[in-house]
């Protein structure tokens, strides 16, 4: 067994996923590449969204990939950090808003 679950060099092997199921793998990568093309949102904006989501889903491969992608696009570190805070705010907000459920249950059951 590997000594670590995540290895940086595995990021470059992402495309190998297709080897075990070419049909689904190809469909995924075609979709993935189409998503990140410039459209109503620029490729730059999409890169920042991807960086924020990468942090929310805590994917080390994605954080590595989209930090590098941002550097290539000239995205400033201040922009990257603000994007991460947007993701963190939504994630913490998503946790905190469940406090209303807690309050509802508490108040319903309490005298």
């Amino acid at each position: 067994m590997e000594k670590t679950y995540y290895k940086p060099e595995d990021l470059k092997k992402f495309g190998d996923i297709t080897q075990w199921n070419e049909d689904l793998g190809t469909k995924f990568f075609d979709y993935y590449n189409a998503v990140f093309e410039s459209g109503a949102l620029s490729a730059r904006e999409k890169s920042l969204i991807a960086l924020a989501v990468a942090h929310v889903v805590q994917c080390p491969y994605c954080i590595d990939a989209y930090t590098q992608d941002g550097l290539k696009r000239g995205i400033e570190k201040e922009e990257m950090m603000e994007a991460v805070h947007v993701g963190a705010a939504i994630k913490s907000g998503a946790a905190l808003v469940h406090g209303v459920q807690m309050m509802n249950v508490h108040d319903k059951l309490s005298m």
């Binding site: 470059k12 410039s38 620029s42 490729a43 730059r44 590098q68 992608d69 550097l71 290539k72 696009r73 000239g74 400033e76």
Partner: protein, 345 residues
């Protein structure tokens, strides 16, 4: 920034043999990565010569962190008028479409204006690679923008980024503001404006150990930001990959990025870019008249593989040669490719 040239620092990398040794050992010697010759599978040959790129000297008013020339104020290598005359002779006797003047800061060569005046009518396109700050450095150089316009010089200017912090980090404090001022002066003379015939192109290169993004997307970002923030216009943006030699190699090693950067270059190898690499249509002339396949080979002192090694002996026979390559060449074939004219694909 206080950066000094590798030569002034007496760095081991000021020895080009040491650079080539690093580029050929380690991950390229133990089979982890293929050497460039193996990757391309056969000799690389020149096509018709179109561009004569003349390095007028290594002296520069700036000391940039990524500089492949290791240029700076302390570098005294300057092309003589005699050697410049030999370059003019080649333009007279052969069909050279473009002269590409580089350095250092080519403007600091004492024969610069004389040479431009002599050469202008001999070629269709005369490029000066200007670092911009030299144009506002002092009175000696402040008349150059008008001189450029008068001779319809094609100005290609380095500007690593459209924001101050990234530019100054790579090129030194204050460089961005001086560059903006110089670009505004050039714009006022008609450079970069429609229908003036005065071409102003910018060169972007990454401020770190990563490859450039898509050239067209970067160009759109640069155009919007420079116009919105400073009212600056320009024609084209050339996105250039930093090649792992000289000061950039020093940076890669010092920051423990060398192996990852080389892996990135190799994994991004693009055979289509190989078909268009600049060494196939360009010849580089060193400050002493020596001939090289490109400016990067010049900085590694890899002279052309031909008995004719000097501009004074130039003949079209030198086109029958193999282009000399090493692992730094992966920088020109990665992704969309890279050259002094930007992306290759």
């Amino acid at each position: 920034m206080g950066l000094k040239s590798l030569q002034a620092r007496q760095s081991e990398l000021s020895d080009t043999d040491r650079q080539l040794e690093i580029l050929s050992n380690g991950i390229f010697a133990d089979g982890q990565l293929p050497k460039f010759t193996k990757q391309i599978g056969g000799p690389l040959k020149p096509n018709k010569l179109e561009i004569l790129q003349i390095n007028m000297g290594y002296m520069c008013n700036q000391v940039c962190a990524h500089c492949h020339v290791d240029a700076g104020p302390d570098r005294k290598e300057i092309m003589t008028q005699k050697t410049l005359e030999l370059c003019l002779d080649v333009c007279d006797n052969y069909d050279i479409g473009t002269l590409d003047l580089t350095g250092g800061a080519p403007e600091m060569n004492p024969h610069f204006r004389w040479f431009v005046e002599q050469a202008r009518s001999k070629v269709n396109d005369l490029i000066v690679r200007s670092n911009l700050t030299i144009l506002t450095a002092n009175k000696t150089f402040s008349e150059l923008p008008e001189f450029f316009a008068q001779h319809k010089v094609h100005v290609v200017s380095s500007l690593p980024f459209y924001r101050r912090n990234k530019t100054d980090r790579q090129r030194g404090n204050g460089v961005f503001d001086k560059s903006v001022k110089a670009l505004q002066i050039l714009n006022n003379l008609g450079y970069g404006q429609a229908d003036t015939g005065l071409q102003l192109d910018l060169v972007y290169n990454p401020a770190g150990a990563f490859l450039p993004a898509d050239q067209k997307e970067l160009e759109a970002d640069f155009k919007k930001a420079l116009l919105d923030d400073f009212g600056i216009v320009f024609n084209q943006l050339f996105a250039i990959t930093n090649l792992p030699i000289s000061r950039f190699l020093d940076y890669l090693i010092a920051t423990d990025n060398y192996e990852d950067y080389m892996r990135e270059l190799v994994s991004a190898y693009n055979p289509t870019a190989l078909e268009n690499v600049m060494c196939t249509n360009t010849l580089s002339v060193g400050w002493d008249g020596s001939l090289y396949d490109c400016d990067f080979n010049q900085m590694l002192q890899m002279k052309i593989d031909h008995p004719v090694g000097h501009i004074g002996d130039y003949s079209s026979a030198i086109n029958d040669r193999n282009i000399r390559v090493s692992q730094h060449c992966y920088g020109c074939t990665a992704g969309a490719g890279s050259s002094c004219q930007g992306a290759l694909t």
